[in-house]
Amino acid sequence: MRSLYKPRAILAASLFALSLGAAGGAQAALFEDDEARRAILDLRQRMDAQRLASERDAEAQRAELAQLRRSLLDLQTQIETLRGEVARMTGQNEQLLKDTAELQRRQRDIATGMDERLRKMEPAKVSVDGREFIADPLEARDFETALGTFRKGEFPAAQTQFGDFIKRYPQSGFRPTALFWLGNAQYANRDYRGAITNFRALLQSAPEHSRAPEAVLSIANCQIELKDTAGARKTLDELVKTYPQSEAAGAAKERLARLR
């Protein structure tokens, strides 16, 4: 707007200058008509130029304004789009959070289930007759099965199961105990010679085993059953000598007294 005032200011200034000149010219007749006309034409020309320039300015500004308006609308649309986008992503994020939580829960469940199942298959520490060793779950189960059979008094089956056990797991930590119960099963089945062999195998492989004194006593019992009194006495003597502190040694002494 300010530029619109400019030509008028210039015009006023020019007219003022003109009137000054005219005032002076009364005496001096300084300005000829032609000169004045030229000046007016000149002024008019300048005014036209100014007007054109300001119209161009205004036009440019209008264009700029329209441009601004368009970009504002553009921005508005972009904001709306972004808002929609954010909502969509918020929704997606919520869904993902929920899915993640669900997956975590399921994974925990699976891990727990897996652990439980693996535990059934992984070797674990077992403790038998005062000895600790690592055993396969299957091995431990087979041993417990055989022992269960023995405890039920099913001695022929127990003999088979302990025999199989010793064959299947020659390196097993259960072996001495298995030999002991195998011997006992055989004793019950009146297989005294077989029993003696297995008790001896126990003594040979694990002389310090907590079942060893009982195994010696059992050998003596087998010998008595086989009417080998001399052998039995010898075995009992050995028992008293080798394991003097054992409970079995006490029993051996009594037995010896009776045998003599």
């Binding site: 909502a87 929704g91 997606q92 919520e94 959070l97």
Partner: protein, 427 residues
């Protein structure tokens, strides 16, 4: 987007263009449409003297028990027993009834009615007790509902909801009415009549007050209405819309949806009125707040995730957690008083269906075969849901058991009937 007040099947424009049918309120009837697995067979003998009484006690009790889904009525017509009889239970055993109700209604000298009854265990031949009420003729229905409550509690071990009340809104011509009715929809008393829409009635936990939104000043404004005195007070009348009031369980606070700062957002206001406190800050629409029974959560609907879903957050605001994930349009949450269930409306292939979610597992069950369900609300014993729907071309209020197996229609003959809210146990 959807109507900013509430997401609902019908917006305000639809409210204004309803059918001009005047509702008839004396015609409520139980229409059990499902078959329950374990229903107790019960015989309710006509009460001696009830033929002279304005209300048929035995029929009301029978309808109550049938609607609960837990009982199957056994025909007892022609019996002439009352509470003083020592009935021969053999014929009832032959009719396969497990229980028998006998009673009487007699007019007292002062014009009141003396209603008495006794409940018999037919199988064991045991007297399970009885009660007597001296009531005015106007309270005979209430006495019948109390008898139903006694029987229900004796035989199921849970409290009955028959003597509780339901609020709902009807539109007849250009007249809107807010009603307070018995739990069977009968005995409706108008709490407010207006020529402008009334929506969103909500009972306070004491059952003495109703909050609702009225358009009587040509814009949605929240009022709290004292049911016994009829006095009411303005709670929220701010710039923009004021809608969806919900009571906190202690009755001290109301959660509302206001658009005073632009978009629809949740606020809380003291029940006595005052300056609202803003709860949510979202770019979307947050509305339909409802408190959990323990007061620890506010469930609400928001489209912050791009589509309306149900969220929950602490009642003082805070980070909302999304609750519904099945489907992309879930609105109108209602929580069971026992805190186990969330009922809501889901839009499933263009149909609006009542759903119930077990909150502990997130498992969702669809309860209806109708397609325009809205406004679910739980009975105070958490065993039934009342909701509005369109069935057989008519507006209807229905109740359903939580497994959806037993439904009963409470609606009268036509007319617009909607926005039910089940009140609390009567103190």
């Amino acid at each position: 987007m959807t109507h900013p007040l509430l997401w609902r099947r019908r917006d305000a424009a639809a409210l204004l263009a309803g059918l001009a049918v005047s509702p008839a309120f004396a015609q409520f009837r139980v229409e059990v449409t499902g078959v329950g697995l374990t229903q107790l067979p019960i015989a309710i003998a006509p009460f001696r003297g009830e033929a002279q009484a304005p209300q048929k006690i035995a029929a009301i009790v029978t309808a109550d028990l049938e609607r609960s889904g837990q009982f199957r009525p056994v025909d007892a017509a022609g019996s002439s027993l009352d509470e003083t009889s020592r009935p021969d239970l053999t014929p009832w055993r032959q009719r396969n009834a497990d229980s028998l109700v006998v009673g009487s209604a007699s007019r007292l000298a002062d014009g009141r009615w003396d209603v008495r009854f006794r409940l018999w265990d037919v199988v064991k031949g045991q007297d399970l007790g009885g009660q007597s009420f001296a009531v005015t003729a106007g309270d005979l229905r209430l006495a019948a509902h109390r008898i139903s409550d006694f029987i229900y509690e004796k035989l199921t071990g849970e409290k009955g909801v028959f003597s509780t009340r339901i609020a709902y809104v009807t539109k007849g011509g250009n007249n809107y009415n807010l009603w307070v009715a018995d739990s069977d929809g009968e005995n409706a008393q108008s709490a407010l009549a207006s020529t402008e829409p009334i929506i969103s009635p909500a009972w306070s936990s004491s059952g003495s007050q109703l909050a609702y939104v009225s358009f009587e000043s040509r814009k949605p404004v929240v009022y709290v209405h004292d049911v016994s005195s009829g006095r009411r007070r303005l709670i929220a009348n701010f710039k923009g819309s004021n809608s969806a009031p919900a009571w906190s369980p202690d009755g001290r606070t109301l959660a509302v949806t206001l658009s005073r700062e632009g978009g629809s957002q949740l606020y809380t206001i003291d029940a006595g009125g005052g300056e609202p406190r803003r709860l949510t800050q979202s770019a979307g629409i947050d509305t339909e707040p409802v408190y959990s029974a323990d007061g620890r959560q506010i469930y609400f609907v928001s489209d912050r995730g791009g589509a309306p879903q149900i969220y929950r957050m602490p009642p003082t605001g805070g980070n909302p957690e999304r609750v519904t994930f099945t489907g992309n349009y879930n609105i109108s949450p209602a929580l069971s008083p026992d805190g186990r269930w969330l009922a809501y409306i889901s839009r499933i292939s263009g149909q609006f269906k009542l759903q119930v979610m077990e909150l502990s597992s997130g498992a969702v069950t669809s309860l209806t075969d109708t397609s325009a369900d809205e406004s679910p609300s739980f009975a105070p014993n958490s065993r039934l849901i009342v909701y509005a729907t369109r069935q057989g071309g008519r507006e209807a209020l229905m109740t359903t058991t939580l497994d959806g197996k037993i439904k009963a229609r409470l609606a009268g003959q036509g007319g617009d009937i909607r926005e039910p809210d089940w009140g609390p146990f009567q103190k």
